[in-house]
Amino acid sequence: MGAFPMSEHSTYIPGNGVEKWIDERLPIIRFSKEHLMDFPTPKNLNYWWTFGGILAIMLVVQIVTGVILAMHYTPNIAMAFNSVEHIRRDVNGGRIIQATHAVGASMFFAAVYVHIFRGMYFGSYKAPREILWLLGVLIFVLMMATAFMGYVLPWGQMSFWAATVITNIFAAIPIVGNPILELLRGGFAVGNPTLNRFFSLHYLLPFVIAAVVILHIWALHVPGNNNPVGVEVKSDRDTLPFHPYYTMKDLYGIVLFAIPFAWFVFFIPDILGHPDNYIMANSQVTPAHIVPEWYFLPFYAILRAIDFNILFIDSKLGGVIFFAGSIVILFFLPWLDNSKTRSGTFRPMFKWFYWLFVLNFVGLTYLGSAPAEGIYVVLAKICTAYYFIHFLIILPVLSRIETSRPLPTSISESVLGKAH
């Protein structure tokens, strides 16, 4: 039994006349009870699975702090920089709200990377969860767009130059590139129209993300959760109701996650940023190094790694193709890895290549921050190549040649066999 039809596990009985009246018209209480409380969840989920809940909370934190910041922020190139300082200095609680939002972006990405890499290790993208994975990648792309535009709003030097460099990427696309570039910027150069539209879109996109998150959770609730052994739920013995078991475990995870979050917000709010962003944007002065925020570095390294022409494709377009490809390829992951075994735990060869991929990704992050010269350029090319080789060669080949370790017959069996 893979799928849980929506009403099969409904144990809801309206408690009184009002509830009954509501239930017959809009069964929202029934829906909540089924999906937030009774939802059968594999009993063996580990703490890596708490990051889904952490991410949901992070989205709420970003939206709430962001809405408050928007009340005090001025999207005008002459006033934006000082309006952020005004929030820090004059608005009640402003410096905490602003720091929470800025640090929150980093924490959000840290959590989403854990969440994605967890999915990759335990094969959470495999049938019947392909759409769940696709929606997840879509959320990741939307998050990147949102974070990028948000970073432009304080209108510091890095804001301005990041906006210039990143919008410029689009100019490499043949024919439509320049019109897109001008549409994004609202002119020929980054300026007031750019800031205005980025502010508008930065406010809009989180709600689009929230909508896709709802679809993501819907797609999760059809097949139910994957789990660390990757064997489908076979009977009620394999599951626990979501509440109180996983509400409690997730909340505990969320509180633990809040500890480093608070550490950054209250003690080192600027350490994840760049000092240059405390200099007001100036189109006449280019910073010595234009570096994106840390969470974009792996992809930035891939963008820069293509500094040579490939046949008729010049290096600039080549960089854009690889940059876009490195994200687009994630959409194809469910069909590149054909191994029937989900969990990396039971895949003796995959396991090693997985960690090599993680290491390679961390390497790309480092190289994205390093100056584009000397040995770094060579390493960036090697790491970029390996990134694509992992998806296009290693995973398809592994699924043909690898023999998985025997799987437990059920989740309960694997749980009972575990030594404590």
């Binding site: 000082n82 909340l251 505990y252 809040a258 940023g273 405390y278 993680v358 030594a419």
Partner: protein, 286 residues
């Protein structure tokens, strides 16, 4: 299955290290040419650090008597000088101080009036062009957030420790180093253009600002019962760097105080959550 559980632990550790490495990376992304900058012992350093009121007052004096003749501090209102956690002057002192300045005000009779506590610190030049003309073409940067717009780059992998020690004083360290790194004769082979000055820590080494400080140019008056403070470039620059950090981060003390309460709450709360979670899960094989 001891093997698999130790394997799991290794993986957990590996993953944790990876995550923290990812989090810690941006600090590497700076200048190639690393100039060594001596880190100072700031009273406001680390998680327990608070501003030293006397130092901020001395720093204010340096700013007022030296820096402010070229540098603006546009975001600072006189009233903030009376705030707790800052220089904490009395309201009377701030009132008297602000009255010493003429503030441009189109609604006043002759275009200017005496300052009041709610006024912002008046800029030394009317506009950027005038500032450049008076300074050999260079624009003296505004002081409001300057201490956070400068930093110190630590070599790999030492910057990782900054995340745990809470090092956020790169700006003051840089400013202090800048004030103490002027050399009258540049090292051999270094050409300094006319009107510029050699400074070992300034990027490119040719700085427009002439050495602003010299021993003894500012007279510190020690209050009763206080040790006299040395009147040296080193001391002046420490004091003014501290003052600039306060300009950039006036709420630092209250931010950290709140941080302790929040962290204490979160740690206790996490403990309770863990106990509850264990209780709920007891008896469930998982």
């Amino acid at each position: 299955m001891a093997g698999s559980s130790s394997m799991l632990k290794i993986k957990t550790i590996l993953a944790a290290v990876t995550l923290s490495a990812i989090c810690a990376l941006p600090a590497t992304a700076q200048e190639h040419e690393t100039v060594h900058i001596e880190k100072q012992n700031w009273s406001f350093a680390g998680i327990f650090g608070t501003y030293d009121t006397n130092q901020l007052r001395r720093g204010f004096q340096v700013f007022r008597e030296v820096c402010s003749s070229c540098h603006s501090a546009n975001l600072i209102a006189f009233r903030t000088l009376a705030e707790e956690g800052g220089p904490h002057f009395s309201e009377g002192q701030v009132k008297a101080l602000s009255a010493e300045y003429d503030i441009a005000d189109p609604s006043a009779d002759d275009g200017t009036r005496k300052g009041v506590a709610s006024d912002f610190w008046p800029a030394p030049f009317v506009n950027e062009q005038e500032a450049r003309d008076a300074n050999g073409g260079a624009l003296p940067p505004d002081f409001s957030v300057l201490a956070k717009a400068r930093g110190v780059t630590d070599a790999f992998p030492w910057w990782v420790t900054n995340y745990f020690t809470g090092y956020a004083e790169g700006g003051p360290d840089y400013i202090h180093a800048l004030m103490n790194s002027y050399e009258e004769t540049p090292p051999e082979g270094v050409e300094i253009p006319e009107g510029k000055h050699y400074n070992a820590v300034f990027p490119g080494h040719a700085i427009g600002m002439a050495p602003p400080l010299a021993d003894g140019i500012i007279t510190y008056v020690a209050e009763e019962g206080q040790e006299p403070v040395p009147e040296t470039v080193d001391q002046y620059s420490k004091d003014v760097s501290a003052y600039m950090m306060w300009l950039a981060e006036p709420g630092l003390v209250s931010r950290k105080e709140t941080g302790f309460k929040v962290l204490l709450f979160l740690i206790l709360f996490a403990g309770l959550m863990y106990a509850t979670k264990r209780k709920i899960w007891s008896g469930i094989e998982h």
